[in-house]
């Protein structure tokens, strides 16, 4: 069973993130990218916990955990708006170890790329491309590990992201990574993005609840007004459902997620992100709209994660296709998603 309590990995993550991934640090990393002192310092702290290697087998120096067992860790990343791709690094390192490829220092982003006619490689959008040290790129069926330091980088719409390109010579020099042909990078990334979304959703909800109890208008806390109570009730429903969905997507004893469960997780968390962010801002009034108030670190990130590794529309399509391919009752497909064997 995966629970919040009795999860020493999640506790370890919570401790280090509460200490080291403060709102101040998050802002510094978002502003400074890879070269900011805060980026290197925070990653060094995370590296010291060993969590980034948790999915590696014990023979490879890891903890031999499966995705289902690191859900709590990934959730904590979201609860602290961690601006570094820890989940992506965890699965990337496990795939590298399995393929016998040496693991680079620093954090690793995941991305889709395309080979160019001249032999170069280009990723139009690398999430966390501004802070990662390397990218594990899937181009067609070929996977390659490429460094970000000498890539040609162009800024993208969001602060942490970048478009990256490598020359033919750089691609030649980069190690190819043998990965199961059925795996696609979007599924892998969505599986590890949904749990931080669940964590951030929960954090946004807790902040809104606390604010509703503190903020006074008309002589009483706004949480005493039925309209606000109902908004918080609706938020809690989405937070609860999204967390359940994220657990489904991130279940299993191995590193490779199950695609239909990931579709459920990512679609449901993205849907919740929209509702919860909107309600949180409504409840907070003008103060929540300011840069200096920390709520925005979570709601902006929720929007960014919603756009990462496939929005609802993409995953609805995947889930809908699975449903249409299975003749008979929807219940069968629902059971295929929800009947997860307990881990831990």
């Amino acid at each position: 069973m995966t629970t919040n309590h009795n999860d020493m990995f999640a506790d370890a993550a919570r401790d280090v993130l509460a200490d080291q991934c403060t709102p101040h640090v998050v802002r510094a990393i978002e502003a400074g990218g890879r070269t900011a002192g805060a980026t290197a310092a925070l990653w060094a702290q995370l590296e010291a916990t060993g969590l980034a290697d948790a999915l590696l087998s014990e023979a490879d120096g890891g903890a031999g955990l499966g995705l289902g067992q690191v859900f709590g860790v990934l959730e904590q990343c979201g609860a602290h708006a961690l601006p570094l791709p820890l989940g992506e690094t965890m699965v990337a390192r496990a795939l590298l170890a399995q393929a016998g490829v040496a693991r680079p220092a620093g954090c690793i982003a995941l991305a889709r790329g395309e080979r160019l006619a001249d032999g170069g490689l280009r990723c139009a959008l690398v999430r966390s491309g501004q802070v990662a040290a390397a990218v594990l790129v899937q181009a067609g069926t070929a996977w390659r590990l490429l460094g970000t330091g000498d890539a040609q980088a162009t800024p993208q719409a969001l602060a942490l992201d970048a478009a990256l390109a490598w020359t033919a010579a750089q691609v030649q020099a980069a190690p190819a990574v043998a990965v199961d042909g059925a795996l696609d990078v979007r599924t892998l990334q969505a599986a590890v993005v949904a749990p931080p979304m669940a964590g951030a959703l929960s954090s946004v909800f807790q902040r809104s609840l606390q604010y509703a109890n503190e903020r006074q208008q008309f002589g009483r806390p706004i949480g005493k007004f039925q309209a606000i109570q109902h908004q918080l009730a609706v938020m809690s429903e989405h937070v609860f459902a999204a967390r359940m969905a994220a657990q489904l997507g991130c279940s299993g004893a191995g590193v490779v997620p199950e695609r239909l469960r990931v579709a459920t997780a990512k679609a449901r968390c993205s849907e919740a992100a929209l509702v919860v962010a909107e309600l949180a801002h409504a409840i907070h009034g003008a103060i929540g709209f300011t840069e200096e108030y920390d709520l925005q670190l979570f709601t902006r990130r929720l929007h960014a994660w919603r756009q990462t590794a496939g929005s609802e529309a993409y995953w609805y399509g995947v889930a809908g296709e699975a449903l249409l391919q299975h003749p008979g009752m929807t219940l069968d497909t629902v059971r295929r998603i929800t009947d997860v064997d307990a881990v831990l």
Binding site: L209, A233, W315, Y316, A322, D339
Partner: protein, 388 residues
């Protein structure tokens, strides 16, 4: 502080010995519902068939969680019942006759009843012979249940009952009602002085009048009590404990599969159409996925609430969350399917699908009324969050 952390969100799997029931139930239901059109199956727990209930009883599928000594299934786990109910609803089996007796009344009698009450009522429920209805609502006591006025006044033979109940599902088909009534005090006393009594609906002074609903069905009723003489053994549980008993009862009512699947027969039938070459469109595929990705986490939540109930916890807030989200999805399905179908050319869409859509569309307002309205549930969640 963190209130949501106290909500239990653990993924739970239905135990294998309970899952094992599924194949047999399915085989039975596939046969039993084969000739029923979808727009009839869509009624499911509003559907009414004593013959069907008797068949289920013969299989041991009514009262499966109740002790053998009272004719039950030997106290099998709540998950065994979960599997049964889930299959009943997904096939759209007409389970309305025994539904309330199996879900609420017999467990209530087992928990609070006297030995004589248990021996009299529970075996009859399990044989599919005694059906119950719930007499909580009154014309002026809907959401505000504590203001019930129907009164049972003690006399030398037991109690004399006077008053009126309303919206009582299937009262015209049932032998018994468990009614929430005032046995002492006044409506100002709110929760105090309320008790539950079992009313034999064949007694003199009881009048049952079906009310037609907007879809033309008559499944709920007005029930009038005019000097109805009840025996002393009509009282269930302790005098004055009615409020506590009712609250416990409602937690069971709210989190079950019936809050997820009211539109599932329609959805499955629509999917069958979308699977055909002329039915398949990209927007339909998207909608199918949207429903699936909402339904699956909800089912996981509902199973997890069931696990909590099994462990003896009282997950009132979690149950309210599941019901609120579940009924919202149940109501979204017919609305979205209508949007899909009526963007197409009319000649492409099967009439049986439209008949089912008509019924579910018309029934859907009730999904978020019965068992407590949306606003009442949100209020309960807010209380659970410490806001009240």
């Amino acid at each position: 502080m963190s209130t949501l952390d106290s909500l239990t969100l653990t993924l739970t799997r239905i135990p294998a010995q309970d899952e094992a029931l599924r194949a047999e139930v399915r085989a039975f239901l596939a046969e039993a519902t084969r000739d029923m059109p979808a727009h009839i199956r869509a009624r499911s727990w509003s559907g009414y068939s004593t013959a069907f209930s008797r068949q289920l009883a013969a299989k041991g599928w009514i009262g499966i969680t109740l002790p053998q000594e009272y004719g039950g299934g030997g106290g099998r786990s709540a998950f065994a019942r979960y599997v049964l109910v889930e299959e009943f609803l997904n096939f759209g089996a007409p389970v309305g006759s025994h539904w309330i007796a199996d879900r609420q009344s017999a467990p209530l009698i087992l928990k609070f009843g006297t030995e004589a009450q248990k021996q009299f009522y529970i075996p009859r429920v399990c044989r599919g012979e005694a059906f119950f209805c719930i007499g909580m609502s009154e014309p002026n006591a809907g959401s505000d249940l504590a203001s019930v006025k129907t009164r049972a006044v003690a006399n030398d033979q037991g109690f004399v009952l006077n008053g009126q109940k309303i919206w009582t599902t299937n009262a015209h088909h049932c032998q018994y009602m468990i009614a929430l009534v005032r046995t002492s005090g006044t409506t100002e006393d709110r929760h105090k002085g309320l008790s539950q009594v079992i009313v034999d609906l064949s007694l003199p002074g009881v009048t049952v009048r079906p009310i037609e609903d907007l879809s033309g069905d008559s499944h709920f009723c007005e029930v009038f009590f005019d000097n109805v003489q009840l025996g002393a053994d009509a009282l269930i549980g302790a005098e004055g404990q009615g409020w506590a008993q009712v609250t416990a009862e409602l937690a069971f009512e709210r989190s079950g599969p019936e809050r997820l699947y009211s539109s599932i027969v329609l959805f499955d039938q629509w999917l069958d159409y979308v699977r055909t070459p002329q039915g398949r469109t990209e927007s339909a595929r998207q909608l199918a996925g949207k429903v699936l990705t909402q339904l699956a986490p909800l089912r996981a939540m509902s199973v997890s609430v069931q696990e909590n109930l099994t462990q003896g916890a009282s997950p009132i807030v979690e149950a309210a969350l599941v019901k609120e989200l579940g009924t919202t999805l149940e109501q979204m399905i017919p609305a979205a399917i209508a949007e899909d179908l009526f963007a197409r050319d009319a000649e492409d869409v099967p009439v049986e699908l439209l008949l089912t859509l008509k019924y579910v569309t018309e029934a859907s307002p009730s999904f978020s009324l019965r068992g407590g309205t949306r606003d009442i549930l949100r209020g309960m969640i807010a209380r659970g969050l410490g806001l009240r």
